[in-house]
């Protein structure tokens, strides 16, 4: 278990949060125009890198808001968190 800093509530224990996977995956602007391959990539393919990873978390047992976290998938180090609409560089 680790602690996550909710940008709205401050640091809380991990079980208060729900995981939302990779951050910054935009819904296709024109889904109808996608080929099967492109649709598959949007639907099923997410980064699975080792190292710093931008991911979404929801403070389910707190303010219930979504936000983003930079976490190292190799060490579980929490580098910082930031609100939706902000960029990874804003993480603190």
């Amino acid at each position: 278990m680790f602690q996550i800093r909710c940008p709205y509530c401050g640091p809380r224990d991990e079980p208060e949060f729900k995981y939302g996977g990779q951050a910054h995956v935009a819904y296709p602007s024109d889904p109808e125009a996608l080929s099967d391959e492109e649709w598959a990539r949007f639907l099923f393919f997410r980064d699975n890198s080792k190292g710093r990873y931008a991911e979404r978390w929801n403070h389910a047992a707190g303010c219930r808001r979504w936000f983003n976290v930079i976490r190292d998938t190799g060490t579980h180090e929490l580098v910082g968190s930031y609100r939706v609409g902000e960029q990874p560089a804003d993480a603190r």
């Binding site: 278990m1 995981y19 699975n48 890198s49 990873y53 991911e55």
Partner: protein, 407 residues
């Protein structure tokens, strides 16, 4: 240490520890159970004699010895049932074939049903299994109690037991022994098992794989099979393609050693716990995955706590059992909870991954079809549906509901 002195005090080594040759006909990346099984069948079934298995750690370090050793084949969909049943049939012959006591014990696997939906899903699965030639029975609560007396079936239970499916041919095996047996069998067939050899690059020329860059130098290879479970994405990236898998920690634990009290494997998808008792006496329990991506081979204690609380409800006897050890492994989870075994966008490069939380049971079948795929350049009939392209065609094999997260 002087090898002669070592031999004096220790059992003989089960395999050699060769340095890599400059080239091989085929190289399997990953010395886990599936990788060794692949090399074994490449040599045994397809007559390849110039094979290496490269492993970044050592044999018997990763998920091969971190799983909960459950073996069964009672999957819902035809494709899965065929694959896992093929594996189970091979398991039934492996002790003799590998000439090693792997403690394969067909003590039966119960999958409990706790509510009306579970009952309907379970009965449906029993029927589907029978149509596919997989042994399956539906037991009511009294029959569950008769088959496995330590399960609490009282109606007051937090998770009342309304019945269970039973696969009598399911059971457990000793995973350490399986890895020993496979390592020895591969070595005897001339396979070079190269430990401490991390792949750092994959050479691709004109869309065809030509070799590997490793921590022990370059190795040329005619064919390469990637069988690296949780690290498959990292290898695929080296070859320039992506896999639709996410790597998660999966935790398990054992209790201290007790007298034999649990005579079969008990799984519950609804409360998410699966438990058996090892031959030596430890209760072996598995949890669900930690939700986040990770390569760190550990997870949160709260996941263990949740699993233990469910276990206590089903088995009040275990309330005073003491935890001996917990650990985590990194599992490669696919969007449809089914593996990917087959061709890749790179010629002569094949992939076997995505077994997620349930790969141990598939070991012989996985190696068998992967060896066929590498040797012939075409998937075996059994793994043809488990292609990487199914995510584009939509022909998913959705075992999430059927096999659930508890494997």
């Amino acid at each position: 240490m002087d090898p002669n002195e070592h031999a004096l005090h220790n059992a003989p080594f089960l395999w050699r520890t060769p340095e890599p040759k400059s080239s091989y006909e085929a190289v399997v990346v990953g010395g886990g159970l599936h990788g060794l099984a692949t090399a074994y069948y490449l040599a045994k079934n397809h007559g390849l004699s110039d094979i290496a298995v490269v492993e970044r750690g050592w044999i018997g370090n990763g998920n091969a010895v971190r799983n909960t050793t459950i073996i069964r084949s009672n999957y819902l969909w035809d494709e899965s049932a065929a694959m896992y049943e093929h594996a189970l049939k091979l398991w039934e012959g492996w002790t003799e074939e590998l000439d090693y006591e792997i403690l394969f014990s067909q003590r039966g696997v119960l999958n409990l049903a706790h509510n009306l939906h579970d009952v309907r899903e379970s009965v449906r699965r029993v029927n589907a299994n029978r149509l596919n030639g997989v042994d399956a029975e539906w037991l009511d609560a009294e029959q569950v109690k008769e088959f496995c007396p330590v399960v609490d079936i009282s109606p007051e239970a937090r998770y009342p037991v309304m019945g269970a499916t039973l696969q009598r041919r399911g059971g457990i095996a000793r995973h350490d022994a399986v890895i020993f047996a496979l390592g020895r069998a591969c070595d005897a067939l001339g396979v070079d098992i190269i430990q401490g050899c991390e792949v750092t690059g994959i050479d691709v020329t004109d869309g065809r794989v030509t070799g590997l860059q490793t921590s022990k130098g370059p190795i040329a290879a005619g064919k390469v099979g990637l069988v690296a479970a949780g690290r498959s994405s990292l290898l695929a990236a080296m070859a320039g393609f992506d896999l639709p898998i996410q790597s998660h920690p999966l935790q398990a634990l054992v209790s201290e050693v007790y007298e034999q009290v649990l005579n079969c494997v008990v799984m519950s998808n609804a409360v998410h716990v699966y438990v058996s008792q090892a031959h030596k006496g430890e209760l072996v329990m598995g949890a669900g995955i930690d939700a986040f991506n990770s390569y760190a081979q550990r997870g949160g204690l709260h996941v263990i706590e949740e699993q233990m609380s469910a276990g206590m409800q089903l088995f009040p006897h275990f309330s005073r059992a003491r935890l001996l050890r917990t650990w985590g492994g990194i599992v490669d989870v696919c969007p449809d909870a089914s593996p990917i075994v087959g061709l890749t966008p790179v010629e002569n490069l094949y992939v076997n991954c995505g077994w997620g939380t349930g790969g141990f049971k598939a070991t012989p079948g996985s190696g068998y079809v992967m060896a066929h795929t590498i040797a012939t350049g075409e998937p075996h009939e059994l793994n043809r549906p488990f292609s990487l392209t199914r995510f584009e065609t939509g022909e998913l094999i959705d075992e999430h509901g059927a096999a659930a997260v508890a494997h």
